[in-house]
Amino acid sequence: MITLQNVRKTYGGEVRIGPLNIEIPKAGITSLIGPNGAGKSTMLLMIGRLLKMDEGRIRVANMDIARSKSNDIAKILTILRQENHFITRLTVRQLVGFGRFPYSKGRLTKEDEAIISKYIDFFGLTDLEHRFLDELSGGQRQRAYVAMVLCQETEYVLLDEPLNNLDIARAVQMMEHLRRAADELGRTIVVVLHDINFAARYSDRICAMKNGQIAAFGTVDEIMRPDLLTDIFETRIEIIDGPYGKLAVY
């Protein structure tokens, strides 16, 4: 369980995020949605300790994020940002191998190698494992990054806009992979998404944010309501029943 208590963050005196109070339960996929500047990424980065909060407390699996040792946190929680540039050229396998760092400190054991292979296979990158990242397509590269953080085998996985720059086919593929990671590997995944319909189709819970506050949090059916979404996005949004569940039309 991820618990936020009165978490606040101020940027340059103008933008205020919080107070955020939320309990994200274990297992399944939770999507963060909301208009630009609502504070989705800020909240995710604060949970992932990439951004310091000004006030409040965040606990992940009963560990205080601000007080625990970074390496201990890295065994229960990982985070991937939307843009990653590395100065060194890495192969897919080397990249995924970095996910084992919290355990092996860079000395990969046989078990580590087996786990690395498992996630490379899981994301369908087996034939590409010795390619350099800059030789891959955008979708493949994104899968490699996600494979890297899953390879860390943490209970909680935070992803900041993993569908950014992916076309529809790659985006669907990515969400299918995440769904399987949640179902088959029992991970708790928190993901920032821009597309309401992707969130509705693939997540278990949706947290909607607006103006630095949590506007609504609940199951997909609880959130996919026309009045609620219209209010959050300040655009008229209707909900219809599609073949895979509810669809937002705007």
């Binding site: 940027y11 340059g12 990424s41 940002r81 939307q82 843009e83 540039h85």
Partner: protein, 342 residues
């Protein structure tokens, strides 16, 4: 703040280009007039600061016109020139930490002077000036070329790279001076000072007036060029010609000053930054203010340089180099606190 957000912030707040702002567009305002008077007062102080007794001595009047007047004029012209080069470079690169010192342009000018000495034994001032201008132009071009095709993750990379480039060029200059035994040339250039200025030695600085006029005429277009090739072309401008023009303006200013006075560090950085801190980012209407503040700052520094160890004087570049460094760091820290630097 993420780098992504930073780019957005930078792109999201362009200087108001065509917005009508009557009170800003009017040049002659009360503060401006006051500032003009302040600079004139500083100029007067400069005229009457010095060891030589121009009132008591018989040839005081001559000395006044041979050294004091030229020195003060040189100060005004140099101040305006160096502050303006900073502004032009800010306009074109949209980076407030870019100026001749942080792009290596100054070091290229020094190398140009050296080249003049190598090619022609005992070069005239015009030859040295030409060398400095040509080399500054090439150097600035190289830097702009680099800026154009590189994707930057932090705006701070730009001055860091520029100063690296400057260090490369000055390493090359050092090599040449050692090889041909001309260390003093570079050392004398490196220390910019107004002490040797007198009638007959500074008149080339008047070129700066022409550069200033051209800059005033083209300021709007240069601002648009700063938005990038696509925007400039969409608005019907010849992007490459504008970049060449900006380059040429910078190179002429830096080259002339390098040949006549020497190295004047950081002025192009601190003056436009201070002006935009006070007046906001409307770069176009800041131009007269930048010239004026540049004149005032350098004159003040030169007066301090003349007074601080009287009857001797320290070169103004020492004052500007240390003071400028301090102000630069303060500006950086201020931006850091407001979260604008990442």
């Amino acid at each position: 703040m993420s780098t992504h957000a930073m780019h957005e912030a930078e792109i999201g707040s362009p200087p108001p280009l065509a917005e009508p702002r009557p009170e800003r567009n009017r040049l002659i305002t009360v503060p401006f007039v006051l500032a003009v008077f302040a600079v004139i007062a500083l100029g007067a102080v400069s005229l009457f600061t010095g060891v030589y007794d121009i009132w008591g001595r018989e040839d005081g009047r001559d000395m006044f016109f041979i050294t004091r007047v030229p020195r003060t004029i040189a100060l005004m012209l140099t101040g305006a020139a160096m502050a303006m080069t900073g502004l032009i470079m800010h306009l074109v690169t949209r980076n407030k930490m870019v100026e001749p010192t942080t792009t290596g342009t100054t070091e290229w000018a020094g190398l140009g002077l050296l080249a003049a000495y190598l090619l022609v034994p005992g070069p005239t001032l015009v030859m040295r000036m030409t060398g400095a201008i040509v080399f500054s132009f090439v150097g600035t071009m190289i830097f702009f070329l680099f800026l154009r095709h590189v994707r930057l993750r932090s705006s701070l990379i730009v001055p860091i790279t520029g100063m690296m480039l400057g260090a490369v060029v000055s390493a090359f200059s050092t090599f040449m001076t050692l090889r041909f035994n001309m260390s003093q040339v570079i050392e004398n250039w490196f220390i910019g000072s107004f002490a040797p200025v007198q009638a007959g030695r500074y008149e080339h600085l008047w070129i700066i007036v022409a550069v200033t006029l051209i800059t005033f005429l083209y300021a709007n277009r240069l601002t648009i060029a700063g938005l990038g090739e696509d925007v400039a072309t969409a608005l019907g401008l010849h992007y490459h010609r504008l970049i060449l023009l900006a380059n040429a303006l910078v190179a002429v200013c830096v080259g002339v000053v390098a040949a006549v006075i020497g190295n004047i560090p950081f002025l192009g950085l601190i003056v436009p930054n201070i002006v935009s801190m006070i007046r906001g980012d409307d770069l176009r209407s800041n131009l007269p203010w930048v010239c004026l503040t540049g004149m005032g700052t350098i004159t003040l520094c030169d007066i301090v340089a003349r007074v601080v160890i009287m009857p001797f004087e320290v070169p103004v570049s020492l004052i500007l180099g240390t003071l400028g460094a301090a102000v630069f760091i303060l500006i950086l820290l201020r931006q850091r606190r407001s979260g604008r630097v990442r």
